[in-house]
């Protein structure tokens, strides 16, 4: 009864919100028409009466003033990523009166985004992130030009975008290495400063590339990191305020660049925030490398390349599924329930994930520790106690580490009379096909 009431209300609210969105769209068309004929305030220069009031508090700062505000109004900024960084960046830039903001992201909103991606709400789940941001920014300032683009950024799409627009600043709020190199090279080739931020767990990093003769990303990191050393927010986790802080600082850097306040721009400087000790570090970096492959005096890279190939990793932060075992070494998630309590089941996720939620009758043995003698001894001891089927079932979050574990255990414990089996798709598959009460994360 209660569930029914809640469902009906949620449905009503969604219907009303959709209707509201339609009206907003219509209003925007009329407002645009009106704004085309809008006259600036006859008592000032270049701004309307409303703009003077709206931005007065920041124009009273002497570094901004009327002149700075006009610069912001006439600026175009591209933000790549509508996530943990993109949300704070875009909300502060829109509020500050940047004339035109283009925001690009391919993803839809998920429940696990909401703790840090502060512009998205429950009602936005499964909708494109850029549409959600568009709505929120418009509710702050209906007069701004916000251009949402739901697209994957690659060499082709960014070239199109940069060929048809003149951006004053690009903000990197992406979540993967390939996109970071892509944006760097695109900015160098088009002579645009790049405000780069990143965050993971309790740490954040911030710098500005390709600004006033300063270094670019490749000057610092000519070679991409080995893919196995790169951790995503989905695996390593991230505390919301950390990307929040870095994103706000990215907006601040963008405003400094747009208003020519070059002393404050983090070019050839690197700001590191460590939330575990609440400390900032302001590091002095090398200058531009004259031998840099893209910004050097004789660049090797004169047009955009294939960045996924260059980095050996996809331009996203999702896990790519592996398949390294033979058909007979798998079981389906649907077969798990009858094995619980009868077979030996090893859950090879990290302790932290096991603590969040786990199946009953499973033993936690993190993959990272599995090669250590203690872990192998434990498996040997556990195997002694099993009687049925002589099988050991290995389980993890998505079914990748468990395959690696099966392969490793099989090799290290080849003398044991048991069969190691992987659960296809891991706990994701269990949640999806067996019991949706098991949390999906």
């Amino acid at each position: 009864m209660l569930d029914e009431k809640i469902a009906t209300l949620l449905k009503d609210i969604k219907r009303l919100k959709d209707k509201l969105r339609e009206k907003e769209k219509l209003l925007f068309v009329h407002l645009q028409e009106k704004n085309n004929n809008l006259t600036t305030c006859k008592y000032s220069k270049g701004l309307t009466k409303e703009e003077i009031t709206r931005y007065s508090r920041q124009m009273l700062v002497k570094e901004i003033g009327l002149e700075g505000q006009l610069k912001l109004k006439n600026s175009k900024v591209l933000i790549v990523g509508a996530g943990g960084l993109g949300c704070p960046v875009s909300v502060y830039l829109a509020s500050a009166g940047i004339g035109e903001i283009t925001i690009v992201d391919y993803d839809d909103v998920e429940l696990s985004n909401l703790h840090r991606q502060i512009l998205h709400t429950e009602d936005d789940i499964d909708h494109p992130k850029v549409n959600s941001i568009y709505d929120k920014l418009h509710s702050i300032n209906r007069n701004l030009k916000i251009i949402p683009i739901k697209q994957h950024m690659d060499s082709h799409t960014i070239k199109q975008l940069l060929d048809s627009n003149t951006f004053d600043v690009v903000v990197d709020g992406s979540d993967n290495v390939a996109t970071r190199y892509l944006l760097n090279d695109a900015c160098v080739l088009n002579n645009i400063p790049l405000v780069s931020g990143s965050a993971l767990q309790l740490e954040g990093q911030l710098t500005v590339y390709n600004y006033n003769g300063g270094p670019c990303y490749r000057c610092l990191f000519p070679v991409p990191p080995p893919p196995e050393t790169v951790t995503s927010c989905g695996d390593g986790g991230v505390l919301g305020p950390v990307p929040g802080l870095i994103g706000v600082l990215q907006a601040h850097q963008t405003i400094l660049i747009l208003t020519n306040s070059s002393d404050g721009v983090l070019s050839q400087r690197f700001l590191v925030f460590d939330g575990s000790s609440a400390t900032f570090r302001n590091v002095k970096l090398r200058p531009r490398n004259i031998n840099c492959a893209v910004c050097g005096d004789n660049p090797l890279i004169t047009e955009l390349i294939d960045y996924e190939q260059f980095c050996g990793a996809g331009a996203h932060d999702k896990v790519e599924n592996i398949n390294i075992l033979s058909k007979t070494q798998h079981i389906e998630a649907e077969e798990l329930p009858k094995k619980l309590g009868t077979s030996l089941i090893l859950d090879v996720r990290p302790h932290l994930q096991f603590d969040l939620c786990h199946l009953p009758y499973t033993t936690n043995l993190p993959f990272a520790e599995i090669e250590k003698p203690d872990a192998l001894d434990l498996v040997k001891r556990l195997v002694k106690n099993i009687d049925a089927d002589n099988e050991v079932i290995v389980l993890c979050r998505r079914g990748n580490d468990s395959q690696r574990a099966v392969s490793l255990l099989k090799q290290k414990l080849s003398d044991l009379p048991v069969n190691f089996l992987n659960v296809k798709g891991g706990l994701h598959a269990y949640s999806k096909y067996v019991d949706s009460d098991f949390p999906d994360f």
Binding site: G81, G83, G84, L85, G86, D172, G173, S174, D175, N176, V177, R180, G197, S198, A199, L200, Q201, E203, G204, Q205, L220, F221, P222, V223, P224, P225, P226, E228, T229, V230, T231, S232, C233, G236, V238, P243, F270, V272, D274, S276, R281, N282, V283, K284, L285, R286, D317
Partner: protein, 97 residues
């Protein structure tokens, strides 16, 4: 010679998940340079696969080395002569957002 060694951005995961170490380098004939320190760290503190920290006698791509908050590229990289109380930091770059 007492110095501080720090890790950040995930590089600490290779060093027993500790971000700060106060270490005492044994005295030797030639001055200690960063290149020596890299191998000393590999021998004494590194807990994970060496190739996740070192490659070709230097740090692996994606790790920034800071000497007293200055990029080691401004300080002669592996050849920098370590001074008493120096703070040497290894920071891995982050990519998440």
């Amino acid at each position: 010679m007492d110095i501080k060694v720090q890790f950040g951005g995930g590089a600490e995961l290779l060093f027993d998940n500790k971000k700060h170490y106060d270490i005492s380098l044994p005295s030797k004939e030639k001055p200690w340079i960063i290149g020596d320190l890299l191998f000393w760290l590999k021998e004494h503190l590194l807990k994970e696969r060496p190739d996740l920290f070192l490659q070709d006698n230097s740090v692996r791509p994606g790790i920034l080395v800071l000497i007293n908050d200055t990029d080691w590229e401004l300080m002669d990289t592996v050849n920098y002569e370590i001074q008493l109380n120096d703070c040497i930091m290894f920071i891995s770059t982050l990519h998440g957002g």
